[in-house]
Symmetry: C2
Subunit: 190 residues, 2 copies
């Protein structure tokens, strides 16, 4: 899923991939995204530009690849003891990460270099996975839980829409309000 066909998972190919990804993150931190070119990245990574072009196609797809990797959650959502707390905490953290300038940039990169929609699909798959972890844990406790799609449609989607299309008006309270709406209005009563 990472680069084009992702063949040859070990050895030199893997080294090149790690090196290039690291170069992208370093240069992005140094020069910002303006002035970020394939030859520059290749030089930092210690490879030739043609290697990058052959593996990733162009700069957009490379940035999209890096962005998706960076958007992958590194740990399962916290377990605070109740569905309400878990959802609120996770939603607030999710919004915090996505609404930051860096987060927005990663999302836009993931969407931009995405001919077939697989990168974007991967991003939502990450969110689905996290939400389902929370819901499954709550069900295990015997709590009544909403469907995954209810949470995706009425908590995740509104946050992402505002992040992408309506910057400003975003704070942790908004995330909590969306979770509250799910609890008081959208969740089937027992």
């Amino acid at each position: 899923m990472s680069p084009r066909p992702a063949v040859r998972p070990g050895g030199r190919s893997a080294r090149v991939q790690r090196s290039v990804h690291a170069a992208v993150q370093e240069l992005q931190a140094e020069h910002g995204r303006t002035g970020l070119t394939v030859p520059l990245i290749a030089a930092r990574a210690g490879v030739t530009p043609s290697t990058v072009y052959r593996r990733w196609g162009d700069l957009q797809e490379l940035l999209a690849d890096v962005a998706v990797e960076h958007l992958r959650p590194d740990e399962p959502p916290a377990d605070l003891g109740s569905l309400r707390e878990d959802l609120e905490h996770w939603a607030a953290a999710f919004l915090e990460e996505m609404s930051s300038p860096a987060g927005r940039a990663y999302i836009r990169d993931a969407l931009a270099g995405d001919p077939d929609g697989s990168n974007a699909g991967q991003c939502s798959a990450y969110a689905v996975e996290q939400v389902e972890t929370i819901l499954a844990r709550a069900a295990q406790r015997g709590e009544h839980v909403p469907g995954t799609d209810v949470v995706m449609d009425h908590v995740v989607a509104p946050m992402m829409y505002r992040v992408l299309f309506r910057p400003g008006l975003l704070d942790a309270q908004y995330a909590r309000d969306l979770v509250a709406t799910v609890f008081y209005r959208l969740m089937p009563l027992p």
Copy 2:
């Protein structure tokens, strides 16, 4: 709002802008987006590439400009006599347009060539405007109406999220279901 500073609204500048926009749409229809380059567009438009670079900066920003123009609604939402019908009809049409391959491409272009978020903000402003037209008409009739943000958060946002991140599973029924959720669960009772 259209190009950079949009000074000199008439005469030659306006002709160049129209010509370039038309060239983009023609070439996009002919060759698709691959193989779409600034020199190609400039040649079709009858201008030199440097003119395009100076006005739009690069290909991405030009495509974003064209996309936003194309996403602007060309007419106010239909008046079918009731809030429920108006919202359902508009949401279904909106989803139909946005979920098409061309629609998705326009949205991605508008997001991609968007350093400061103004293009994306314009897109949501279009939707807000359409929704408020519908809500104002319903209020005029004496109907109880939800807030604009309720519709944006729980009708528009879920559709756009699925369009961008979860392709597939999109049909007119989904739009109607979201409107139904607003009516039966999210709208304050009289």
